[in-house]
Amino acid sequence: MKYTYLSLLTLLAILSGCADKDKKGDGAAFGDSTDNIYDQSLPQRSGNPDTADYETLKADTVFFAYDSFTIEAKERPKLDKLANYLSNNANTKIVIAGHTDARGTPQYNLALSEKRANAVRQYLIGLGSSGNNISTVGYGEDRPTSEGESDSAHTDNRRASPGILR
């Protein structure tokens, strides 16, 4: 287990370019034997994601492949930009709102959308952003930017959008 932990930690360090950023999740409270480096426990809630400003940072919206929460290489420059914005605006709290396309079932889509938001948050933490300033929310398939069942609508809707909490 120790070996696996270390190699995963190394992997994360390589991915994020920042070896000291690993943080223990709340999961540690339930026993250290279940330590999981993928856990970046979420901050206390702030603001209201429903009324956040999703326009200002719209260009940094991250798009995903079907049924995936992997941040693809082509999307990473957006997050470099977003991390830069956060470091220049250290008092700004943002929310990452995750979304899915219209396919799939409601609960799994809710969880997948949240997972996408979490993946973006963890990536930003890896880039040095403060996790305390980044909340997450998942809207499943119920906040589409494009309606309908076309491939292009599905592609538009599989996203994680950064919003400024106010």
Partner: protein, 392 residues
């Protein structure tokens, strides 16, 4: 089940002579062999609401899957009843004469009492509980990009629709408590997705889980004391349990992926849930106190929304192939099968008989017979109905 294995072997004989054992015990006299139906007639129910209730009873018996409505001359049983001030006096008489299969008074308004009469008859006929008196809760959405989803309650035949929430938010996944008096659901009405419990008796609502991140998919344990739900406070949606009135979570899973949609075994010892730990979403089993998850083979690459049957023997789930179908996994044989026809089906919820499932199909609620694949509409005037859940 109520019958021993040896009893089952002689059932075909019993089916041919259903009333011989009537006087001997209150044990079930017939088990319907698969899709075989018993011929039943209904005498018009007496009383001012009689004609309407006659139709209600006929609908209930047809939906049970155990009866075919026929002319009294050829019926094995004839049902008759009278609407009374307190409900309905009902009776089911075998063709041969002899003791009635059912002779009882049912309390409540005429409709409720009629449903109870239907259930008593089905129970006596098949040894399996009827579901005509069950209710369903579900979400119904408005249209558009900024849609809202509110939580509703209705009878299982689609009547008596009541809107429970007016949150102006996205309500998801309503689930009944075992006694049917409470409904847990999640809503983002605070801006974040919390879990609420509505008490249908006191008409009060309380927040039971509002941890950072998402609090979704809550399902009551069979004793009602505990909720299993998916919490993302750890940074990942994980299956947890909390006291059903709220409290600190006990974390059951620890996976890199997405864990959601818990459902309890009827004995409360196990939880089935969805995880995409190994790629696409699959169904896993886990001891309710925690332990090693075991993946079940549903023979589908995208299986979600497990629902454990009341008899404990099966787990129903949604599969994405074929545009949305319902599968059933048999825990004894470890075999799975597709039980629906057509497409657009999801969110199965077992009824009391562990045979029928209420599902949504392209936004309409349907009653699916898992033995025949037949789906009958649960009509209501609402659109975009999702995630039905049935009282047990």
């Amino acid at each position: 089940m109520l019958l021993s294995h040896s009893m089952k072997l002689i059932l075909p004989t019993l089916l041919l002579t259903p009333f011989l054992l009537l006087a001997q015990s209150s044990a079930p006299v017939i088990v319907i062999e698969q899709t075989r139906k018993v011929d039943v007639a209904i005498s018009p129910i007496a009383g001012t609401e009689g004609p309407a209730m006659t139709k209600v009873l006929q609908n209930d018996l047809e939906r049970s899957g155990a009866c075919r409505i026929v002319d009294p001359a050829t019926a094995a049983f004839t049902l008759s009843g009278t609407i009374t001030p307190s409900g309905l006096a009902g009776r089911a008489t075998p063709k041969s004469g002899g003791a009635p299969l059912v002779e009882s008074s049912f309390n409540g308004d005429a409709r409720r009492a009629t449903h109870q009469f239907a259930d008593a008859f089905i129970q006596a006929l098949t040894g399996t509980p009827g579901f005509a008196s069950s209710r369903i809760t579900f979400a119904s959405a408005s249209a558009g990009k900024n849609r809202k989803k509110e939580i509703y309650l209705s009878d299982i035949d689609g009547e008596n629709v009541r809107q429970l929430t007016q949150d102006g938010a996205l309500g998801y996944g309503p689930k009944f408590s075992p006694d049917g008096n409470k409904i847990a659901y999640s809503s983002d009405k605070s801006g974040y997705r919390d879990t609420y419990v509505i008490d249908l008796t006191s008409k009060k609502r309380s927040i039971v889980a509002q941890f950072p991140g998402q609090n979704t998919g809550a399902a009551f344990s069979p004793d009602g004391s505990t909720l299993a739900l998916s919490l993302s406070k750890f940074g990942n949606p994980e299956i947890c349990t909390i006291p059903s009135s709220g409290g600190e979570p006990t974390r059951l899973t620890n996976a890199r992926g997405t864990d959601c949609s818990p459902t309890w075994s009827p004995d409360g010892t196990q939880i089935a849930y969805v995880s995409d730990e190994r790629g696409s979403p699959s169904i896993y089993l886990l001891p309710a106190t925690g332990g090693s998850p075991e993946r079940i083979n549903t023979e589908s690459s995208y299986s979600t929304e497990p629902d454990w049957s009341p008899d404990g023997k099966k787990i129903a789930y949604s599969i994405s192939s074929g545009g949305g179908q319902i599968g059933v996994y048999d825990l004894d044989s470890k075999k799975s099968r597709i039980v629906s026809r057509g497409s657009g089906l999801e969110s199965p919820s077992w009824t009391r008989n562990s045979r029928h499932l209420v599902c949504s199909q392209n936004g309409t609620l349907v009653l699916l017979d898992s033995l025949t694949g037949e789906a009958i509409k649960v009509p209501n005037n609402l659109s975009r109905n999702t995630e039905p859940n049935t009282t047990r």
